[in-house]
């Protein structure tokens, strides 16, 4: 397909662009296969706005056609009036920015709108921009990705006793959404795994995702067992799980559905682990909202945030009604429960919901951040995301096809990854010293997941990425984020390594709206961002001094009594 088919008008002069935080500008608008480019050359100042069309969630157009009301006039004035017609396109982006273009010429306006509509949601993945993005600073031969399951396993020597790396999925035939290598109990051979895979939805058999070094307990994740209405069971599945808690008295299964939902799932072939078959496992049902409900919550929240009037009536009620913060709360408290089982209670846990690709990943990731200091550094966090989201098969393509503004009928969209980032932000706010990365990183990830120059979030799983040649033909976001300049900007200068678990407070009073994201395009949030930047630079500057001279005497002021 040629992109030019979809571009009837490539250039328009004299367009007015209105965008948040900037005064309106007049300049040239240009549409390419992947971008909207606006250049403003007023009074010597040259400003360019380059917007990835993929970032556009929805557009609204209104044209002022002077012709329709001037039918009575002679034809002589027609061309003149045509040129007098104009249109306005409102662009709502997936990063929640709202732009407005005033375009002279009705036809031009409609052409541009049509181009945007088509090109912003191309179906074929191989036509997406990451396959065309060729920055001069990087080469396609550069390392792709930060780590692999193989490397992860070989580094974790303490695993080797009881766990092995299986490549039963090397051609993605056992589980299409799993990576080629997975970590499983040593006593479980590949034949067994194939049988277990048939008993779990989508073939997602239980695999190890976290090993807690302090006590040797693990977090496993999977999808629901396919017990169905007649309560099938699978000997191999039971054996696999028994092998996980070998030597321990019991394990926990955290099911991210309510008991009722889990029971109902039987009617459609799914189900839950019965007490009789898994006698050493104790099931904990913790309902987490997913799918459509989550997407609708996001839509409500963004709508409330976008309301124009400053004299916001009932803002807090609207915030509450969106339920977004209660989803944050549920995610954090379920992750807390998971971490508590492993860290405080000293037992291994299996996590799953139904498909095991959404809320499962959400809470396993958060629990690891809570417990494991090594994933709280910038590099550690990105590696965690790569392993637990990209490689573990979170269907980014489906979940992030549209965001809160889209009018398109919802299909598989759901802001699970955004919810994760919000939860991480809450942790970051409650523990300003414990995480090695900045809010800017979370904001960048929230944008990149929906529209990106990089191939990292393309496709729904490793199989799709292999088929597309993502590794060979696109650049890797995580590598880019770790280049020296980016590293400077995305690290937290206040960071101090702590071995302690960071238990978040999950009470509604302790959770805040993530203004940095949801109110990102308001001047106040922008000022706050600048102030944060200033603080970063200050601390970095002081830190350099501390390194260059003899260590600054850490003066300890006398202990302070709180009255």
């Amino acid at each position: 397909m040629e992109f030019s088919e979809h571009i009837k008008t490539a250039n328009v002069e004299d367009v007015v662009l209105r965008q948040p935080l900037h005064p309106p500008g007049r300049g040239t608008l240009c549409i390419t296969g992947h971008h909207l480019l606006f250049s403003d050359r007023e009074e010597g100042s040259c400003r360019q706005v380059l917007l990835l069309l993929r970032n556009i969630d929805a557009i609204e157009k209104s044209v002022e056609n002077l012709l329709t009301c001037s039918g009575l006039f002679s034809n002589a004035g027609l061309s003149q009036r045509l040129s007098g017609s104009s249109g306005t396109i409102t662009i709502k982006c997936k990063d929640l920015r709202v732009l407005q273009l005033d375009i002279p010429g009705m036809e031009e306006c409609l052409n541009i709108a049509r181009s945007i509509e088509t090109l912003s949601c191309l179906d074929s993945m191989s036509e997406l921009y990451p396959f065309f993005y060729r920055p001069s600073s990087a080469s396609l031969r550069d390392q792709w990705g930060l780590s692999s399951l193989e490397r992860h396993y070989s580094q974790m020597k303490e695993l080797h006793d009881r766990w092995r790396l299986s490549t039963v999925n090397r051609d993605f035939s056992v589980c299409p959404s799993y990576p080629q290598a997975v970590i499983v109990p040593k006593s479980t051979d590949d034949d067994m795994l194939e049988k277990v895979a048939k008993f779990r939805q989508g073939g997602r058999f239980p695999v190890l995702c976290y090993y807690h070094k302090k006590n040797g307990m693990v977090i496993m994740r999977s999808s629901q067992p396919l017990t169905g209405a007649n309560r099938k069971h699978c000997r191999e599945d039971e054996q696999l799980l028994q092998a996980v808690i070998d030597g321990s008295d019991k394990g926990y299964i955290i099911d991210t559905r309510s008991s009722q939902q889990a029971l109902q799932a039987r009617m459609t072939g799914g189900g839950l682990e019965s007490k009789s078959c898994y006698s050493s496992w104790k099931r904990l049902q913790r309902q987490m909202e997913r799918g459509k409900a989550l997407q609708e919550s996001l839509i409500k929240l963004v709508e409330a945030c976008g309301e124009e009037s400053n004299n916001m009536d009932r803002w807090l009620s609207k915030l509450e009604n969106s339920k977004w913060l209660s989803h944050v709360q549920t995610a954090l408290s379920t992750a807390g429960l998971l971490a508590e089982c492993v860290e405080r209670d000293g037992h291994s846990v299996l996590v799953h919901g139904s498909e095991g690709t959404d809320s499962t990943l959400l809470i396993s990731t958060l629990a690891q951040l809570i417990m494991d200091p090594s994933c709280r550094t910038l590099e550690g966090f990105l590696t965690l995301l790569e392993r637990e989201w990209v490689q573990a098969g979170h269907p980014f393509q489906q979940r992030c096809a549209h965001s809160a503004h889209s009018h398109a009928r919802l299909q598989q969209e759901s802001p699970v990854f955004l919810l994760l980032l919000d939860c991480v932000w809450q942790l970051w706010r409650q523990f300003p010293l414990a995480l090695g990365f900045s809010e800017a990183l979370l904001l960048r990830l929230a944008t990149e997941a929906y529209a990106s120059d990089y191939g990292t979030f393309l496709g729904n799983n490793q199989q799709e990425r292999c088929a597309l040649g993502v590794k060979e033909n696109t650049h890797c976001l995580f590598q880019a984020l770790l280049r020296p300049r980016e590293r400077d900007c995305y690290s937290n200068p206040l960071y101090e390594h702590t071995e302690l678990a960071i238990w978040p407070s999950v009470y509604p009073q302790s959770l805040q709206l993530w203004r940095g994201f949801f109110l990102r395009w308001t001047p106040q949030t922008h000022h706050l961002e600048e102030a944060q930047e200033e603080i970063r630079n200050m601390v970095i500057e002081w830190g350099k001094l501390a390194l260059s001279s003899c260590p600054a005497s850490t003066r300890r002021s006398e202990d302070v009594q709180n009255m």
């Binding site: 807090l316 010293l433 109110l519 102030a531 001094l545």
Partner: protein
């Protein structure tokens, strides 16, 4: 642990119930209480503290003439409450009450908490302690002195010297050819709730001032609070005009306001009436009112801020949803129904309008009814936005001394220091609301304030404690009469003796910058670490490492500034190693100071 708890409780470790050795003897429970100079033990008693978070706790309570101190070992729990924070003491249950712990004392505090103690039912065991708490918590109702008059803590510098009106006017560039300093009120004859030193228009003679005073509620005439150095626009404050039902006029008052306008050739003077317009109209019935059309060249703007009674009820509602149990199921809508944040928003947005007018070059007059509650909030917040000096640790003290204390915010009536009359309709958390607004600003501008949250908490704690003279009495004349400056210590003596505790490591002075906070509900937050701080789950476990880190950063910053100074000194000295190569010297030495000037703090 048998199984994970059903509700995941992150703050399982209650910070004020920390583990400690049980070996210390019960006898010594109260041995380690460190008393202030002049503080005396009055009574101690075995008692049960009914903690709303961890249940009934056995221990010992000590009452001194300053504090209520409770200590238990199992769990290790300490309560240390200044008696000044107590608003009300009641007996709970009777001698024949049934049920465990149903007999005792119920104490309502002014700082968002209540305390309950259970005592033995036999032998009127609570009678003595009840009477003693009642007596020492409300000394003024019992003919006793406030504790500030009893204690004699010594500090390096006297906080009473922090604010000198003449010096502060001089800092603002006053007097000048338009504004003069007058001592007409030196014996509080013009206005008994105003300070002695006032700045008034140069053109207005003393008899003009007297005639204006007759037309302003309680003689609180318009006087200058702050002047903009560049455009000479001023913030003037006063009380409402005594218009009354008959719509009285006063030519002198009209002329006086016009003189204020003329002082910097403002075309129109803006009068900000803090009240909702209905209230302003209603005030006519009691002799008050607002400026009508007869004030030429003036525009009147109502700021819609509710009165002290509405604010008191709003904070009471807030307390209901946060103490002892926090309303969790519908937290945000419950919070909304208290309207507290909405009131905060209106106060802030009023102050923004004042600041905006002044920075655009127009003089303003601010008043409410008496000009000592909402007016003080508006002028002081506007000044905080306009003048970076007030955003320093010392400057903020000056701001409070000036706009609140010297101009007669009725601290005694609003707080009720030492007064048993808890239901007094004069009580209102106006000053707390002001500090809340300041906190909101520090949140929105994390590098603009030299002081930190701890200072705000300390100020609010001592607003009630009666340990310092700073917030005692309603006005300067009363303070003079009771010799507050001679006989009590200023809170600022304490603060300035431990300044490093109250400093914000990220402070970056920008002298010319006007701060406009966003007064939108979307950007306001409940000040959880003040209003819900008694709830153990709100206390952040990580608070102490953060404070420790901030202290390290402060030290690092000081080191940095010192290095910088040395660098500049060595650059300018002839012995500098680059001195003989003038070209390179000028290029290298000029860059760093420029780059870093913003970091030089006037500590």
């Amino acid at each position: 642990m048998a199984s994970p708890v059903s509700v995941y409780n992150s703050n399982a470790l209650d910070t004020h119930i920390s583990s400690s050795s049980r070996e210390s003897l019960k006898m010594e429970l109260l041995a380690d209480v460190s008393l202030l100079p002049g503080e005396e033990r009055i009574i101690d008693k075995e008692t049960i503290y009914i903690c709303p978070f961890s249940g009934a706790v056995k221990g010992k309570v000590l009452i001194t003439n300053y504090r209520l101190y409770f200590k238990s070992l199992d769990p290790d729990l300490t309560l240390d409450v200044p008696l000044g924070a107590i608003g009300r003491v009641e007996k709970m249950g009777g001698a024949s009450s049934r049920g465990e712990n149903s007999y005792g004392l119920d104490i309502t505090c002014k700082d968002m908490r209540n305390l309950r103690f259970a005592l033995k039912q036999e032998g009127h065991s609570r009678r003595d302690i009840f009477e003693l708490i009642f007596k020492y918590a409300f000394p003024l109702s019992h003919g006793l002195p406030l504790f500030a008059y009893v204690t004699q803590e010594k500090y390096g510098e006297s906080g009473w010297d922090i604010y000198k009106p003449i010096e502060e006017f001089r800092r603002q560039g006053l007097p000048n050819n338009k504004w003069r300093i007058t001592f007409i009120n030196k014996n509080y004859e013009l206005c008994d709730t105003y300070p002695t030193v006032l700045a008034v228009p140069f053109k207005s003679k003393e008899e003009d001032l007297r005639r204006v005073a007759a037309f302003r509620s309680r003689g609180r005439i318009p006087v200058l609070s702050w002047i903009h150095r560049e455009n000479q626009a001023v913030i003037a404050r006063c009380s409402q005009p005594l218009v009354g039902m008959s719509g009285k006029r006063n030519k002198d008052d009209e002329r006086y306001l016009d003189v204020i306008r003329e002082a910097n050739d403002t075309s129109k003077l803006t009068i900000f009436d803090a009240r909702p317009s209905v209230n302003a109209v209603a005030n006519k019935a009691t002799g008050g009112g607002y400026e009508g059309d007869e004030y030429q060249n003036a525009e009147l703007v109502f700021l819609d801020i509710q009165n002290i009674h509405v604010m008191r009820e709003s904070l009471k509602k807030l307390k209901d949803i946060v103490y002892p149990n926090v309303e969790d199921s519908h937290w945000l809508s419950s919070l909304e129904s208290t309207h507290w944040l909405e009131h905060v928003k209106l106060v802030l947005s009023g102050a923004i309008q004042v600041a905006d007018k002044v920075s655009s070059g127009q003089s303003v007059v601010v008043h409410c009814s008496d000009g000592w509650d909402r007016t003080a909030q508006l002028t002081s917040l506007a000044m905080l936005m306009l003048d970076s000096h007030y955003r320093t640790l010392r400057g903020f003290q000056v701001l409070i001394e000036k706009e609140w204390i010297s101009f007669g915010h009725k601290f005694a009536s609003r707080i009720g220091h030492g007064d048993k009359n808890h239901a007094d309709q004069d009580r209102s958390p106006i000053f707390v609301q002001f500090i809340d607004c300041v906190w909101q600003m520090t949140k929105q501008f994390p590098t603009a304030f030299e002081f930190n949250e701890r200072l705000l908490l300390t100020i609010l704690d001592h607003l009630y404690s009666c340990c310092f003279g700073t917030f005692l009495y309603n006005c300067e004349s009363a303070r003079d009469q009771h010799e507050v400056r001679l006989k009590t210590v200023s809170l600022w003596s304490l603060v300035n003796s431990k300044m490093e505790m109250y400093l914000n490591p990220f402070y970056t002075p920008e002298s010319g910058r006007v701060l406009y906070p966003v007064a939108s509900m979307r950007h306001l937050e409940l000040w959880v670490t003040y209003y819900i701080r008694w709830n153990p789950r709100i206390r952040q476990q990580q608070q102490s490492p953060v404070e420790q880190r901030y202290k390290e950063l402060l030290a690092l910053r000081d080191e940095y500034l010192k290095k910088l100074e040395e660098l500049q000194l060595s650059d300018s000295s002839p012995s500098s190693r680059l001195a003989n190569t003038p070209n390179s010297s000028s290029s290298t030495s000029s860059t760093p100071p420029q780059q870093y000037t913003q970091l030089q703090t006037p500590l």
